[in-house]
Symmetry: C2
Subunit: 262 residues, 2 copies
Amino acid sequence: MFKTEAEFLKAYNKNEFDRPSITVDIVVFSVSSGEAENWRKLSQKKMSVLLVKRDTFPFKNKWCLPGGFLKMDETLDEAAKRVLLNETNMKNIYLEQLYTFSDLKRDPRMRVVSTAYVALIDKNKYEEVAKAASWYKINLNIENNLYSFVLENEKEKLVFKVKKEGDHFVSVDSELAFDHDLVIAYALNRIKNKLEYTNIVFSLMPEYFTLGELQQVYEVILGKKLLDPAFRRVIANKVVKTDKVKKGGGHRPSVLYKFKDD
Amino acid sequence: MFKTEAEFLKAYNKNEFDRPSITVDIVVFSVSSGEAENWRKLSQKKMSVLLVKRDTFPFKNKWCLPGGFLKMDETLDEAAKRVLLNETNMKNIYLEQLYTFSDLKRDPRMRVVSTAYVALIDKNKYEEVAKAASWYKINLNIENNLYSFVLENEKEKLVFKVKKEGDHFVSVDSELAFDHDLVIAYALNRIKNKLEYTNIVFSLMPEYFTLGELQQVYEVILGKKLLDPAFRRVIANKVVKTDKVKKGGGHRPSVLYKFKDD
DNA sequence: TGAATAGTGTCTGTGAGACAATATTAT
DNA sequence: ATAATATTGTCTCACAGACACTATTCA
């Protein structure tokens, strides 16, 4: 029929088939310090996720992940960076493709396939976040395979539950827009798994941090207490001691460390 | 503007924006036993990947991964299963979403975003494969961050090289169609990483196997020799001894094991 | 008998878990 | 002085690496 590839391409009808839309959604995590019980105690750290309030249909006034449509002249990675920059003014941060979600009914408007990304930041570097965006602290309770999330704010609480079935999550009940309950569950899971064998934690930390703070972040992501000496042994070769210290609590001051990038 | 979500949806123009096409591509791996040097020796196992020859433009007569366009009424998972069934007659096999590739020029026809899947099978269960499909044994040489692949067949050799940069691969040189060099590199990497902390190996094995055979598969995927006693200790609790044995080599017969599914 | 794989025993060093002990601060 | 965290020391146990040794088959 066609002799050359050039000839074929010229005659090709791009619009022969109907196509889904493609979006990117981004799960932006950071660690926020909650309130301390008293002046002596350390403030309790929690994982936080950035949500935006939808101001249009569908799901008007519901909260969802920052996201947007993929443009024809950008890759998914580029789209993710663009969204992040637009909605949160964040640049040069840890960004990783998570998973592509394609359920038929995930968007009531039309067929939308969405590639989700995870971003990790030290939230204190980006105090101002887009008008409609807000940090929610994550409280997660796991019983058997039921993951109960409570995302909370100074103003609001959002609840959702997902069930883990093998490697997948299934929605049980959600107050978020779209299937973003699943996306968050999936994302947290990914981060948890990668914690041990990568250096992603440091994306959540400021330049200088104490080992206590670092350990708290580990504990918050893994959802369990770690033993101090064991943690220090393991982390020792990823980290360099500085000559700075953090004083001020009613207890022994703590040496500040930096990430050791080999 | 709109009072209710229903009202909004009714007026929504789905075709306001131009959209990329979406495809799925599948990296089907299996382990094939090569030739033995002599009757006494065990046959050398290799990872194999299933390729199909393109019979139309673009990339006419080039080899590529089995794949196809996503239909409007199916999820990506379903599309992957459909492709697998069509092209290879395979059903109920291990299938996992790998990554979504979105480079602007990956398909010369038009903008195509492709979600890649990995499938693992015991190739002996599926002797007949679609007409245009063929198994290629994978030879991989890694030097620093340069991964040199040679895929070989009874008839043909396909060569490609990719560079690993952080978590990503970059094409250096490829005889395959599209960006399927990257997809294969990415897939092999994923399998290698998951080998230790999952049970995916057993998807590559027949129901009954010897520990020697299992060890060979590990060695082939990891690209290094393992010590027998250590391997047996680690694998012991994932496996049950049967009362069958495998005789026939000029050496002590080997007990056949089964996967222990808890 | 000999080449080849199957399978076991054991020594050693590393590293995680557990817990105890010491150090230092602000009030 | 006290409550709280910071930091180090050390004992034990599990386990991986290394290597040696035994077992069994079939041309």
